[in-house]
């Protein structure tokens, strides 16, 4: 776009964007020159249609994705936070679905919420659930090939179902899903997130199982996983039990 960059169009788009993002009560009294007049509808009203659509569409999308965070914070504080977030981190995404990823980080920066770390964790959990709900979830049923002779004695690497995510919460924020007024005290939880019937769901795991799945997620070969398991100082027979459970639940999608 170096050659023939359209100067007038450039200025118009930049000015129009500023107008659309301007707060209504701060708009100038006089109509900007680049807008045509209309005999029937005032320019501020016509511009307001864009202002409303741009802001509310983004707020609605964030409200949908952070339903529990909104309940815990309250409607008005949540709206203030979201508006401030959009101002600090305007969307650079093609899809509205991606916009939500900015919210957890912003909660640690926003004056009204930065001293409430559980809000960051809760928003992060909600974002990861959204992401899981829209992720691929495929199961490759070739685990029976594990029995084949050619695979015996090989150092296998197991691949996890792509919708799987592992989340650690210092505040057990999953409790807010049942009760937005749940205690804000420190209490650790190890969560497994995955896709089920087009929703993101979570399951609370014990720390050992969670740690192993986390290692498995890094494409670690079985021999090294055994070492991790040994370091956890748990009965080795448990590993087979875990594998059986993971493969039955479709968490392991393949091996190589």
């Amino acid at each position: 776009m170096i050659e023939n960059h359209p100067q007038n169009l450039s200025k118009l788009q930049s000015d129009f964007k500023d107008l659309v993002l301007e707060e209504k009560n701060k708009l100038a009294t006089h109509k900007p020159e680049f807008l045509n007049d209309s005999e029937t509808v005032d320019w501020k009203k016509r511009l307001g249609i864009y202002q409303y659509a741009v802001l509310e569409r983004q707020i609605d999308s964030l409200k949908d994705d952070f339903e529990i965070t909104e309940k815990v914070m309250g409607k008005e504080p949540f709206r203030r936070m979201v508006i401030a977030c959009l101002k600090k981190y305007p969307s650079t995404y093609h899809s509205l679905a991606e916009l939500s990823q900015n919210v957890p980080q912003f909660l640690t920066e926003f004056e009204e919420t930065k001293t409430q770390p559980w809000l960051y964790e809760l928003a992060e959990l909600e974002w990861r659930l959204i992401r899981a709900s829209l992720s691929e979830n495929f199961i490759v049923n070739n685990l029976s090939e594990l029995q084949n002779e050619e695979n015996q004695g090989k150092d296998l690497t197991f691949l996890l179902n792509p919708s799987i995510d592992l989340f650690f919460s210092k505040y057990s924020v999953q409790n807010f899903f049942d009760d937005p007024k749940a205690p804000r005290a420190e209490s650790a939880s190890y969560l497994l997130i995955f896709e089920k019937d087009r929703s993101g769901v979570y399951e609370v795991l014990d720390k050992n199982e969670w740690t192993l799945l986390k290692e498995l997620r890094t494409d670690i070969p079985l021999s090294k996983l055994n070492q991790v398991f040994a370091s956890l100082n748990v009965d080795e027979a448990k590993l087979g039990e875990y594998f059986m459970k993971w493969s039955n639940a479709g968490f392991i999608s393949a091996f190589k």
Binding site: T40, I49, R198
Partner: protein
Amino acid sequence: MQKGLELPFLGFGAGLRHEHFDDFLKHKNQVIQWVEVVTENFLPWEDEVPRYPYKILESIRKDFPVVFHGVSLSIGSVDPISPSYLKRWKQLISEFNPAWVSDHLCWTGVKNEKLHDLFPLPYSNEALSWVVERISRVQEFLGRRILIENVSSYVSFSDDEMTEWDFLAEVAKRSDCGILLDVNNIYVSSRNHGFDPLDYLKAIPKDRVGQIHVAGHTDKGDHCIDTHDHPVCDSVWDLYRWAAKNLPEVSAMIEWDDRIPTLERLEEEVSKLKRIWKEENDRKSSSKFVEATIGL
């Protein structure tokens, strides 16, 4: 077959919304002959991780022709077109082989900010050259023609040097793209800017129109808003009637995106498209074309 663009006549369709995924998967739909999906809902994430609805689209396309309709190409923006977006779009096209693909004659953001709305362009010669060059480059990259849709608008600009319909016709001619003609958007804009919607329709080169959108809007008395949350109003049905008569080879569909009705209610609207098309074309001739294309 649409002769100018050589696109197949798919009949009467609807926008596929997730509220109806299960209905489609369970084959409850009896009326809708093809579906349009929003490209962005099926693109991989920006970090290129695939998205789950892929599986649903794979099943649905076994039973219905699918077309892709984008909302964020931002063909009129002065920002560069994102290479990652184009790459992911092209990949999606190669995986699903849609009958055609489309986006809007608008811009959606500038200075790397995306505002997630469809803003009109000034209808100037400068904007015309800009858009024509960008469409040509996109088509070259995708290796296929795209359709460009007219948007509803609430403002117009003092830089305008021609009407919207002359601008659209010229864009299509110069860039060799097709037109997705939205008769509801024409109606909404005609109310907001005070022109005759038939002047618009008559000025569009017929051989360039590849698809028709019909939708509902909100009438605020002194202006209209393109909300896609209502049944189609009589004035818009009249415009579709004109299109059915004058563009009989062009596939048409209903867009209903908010306060989404049951599948049965959506099917009623799609049936009405079919009925009007049949009335106009039965009246016009008893040619075998009518029966062959509509499958009646």
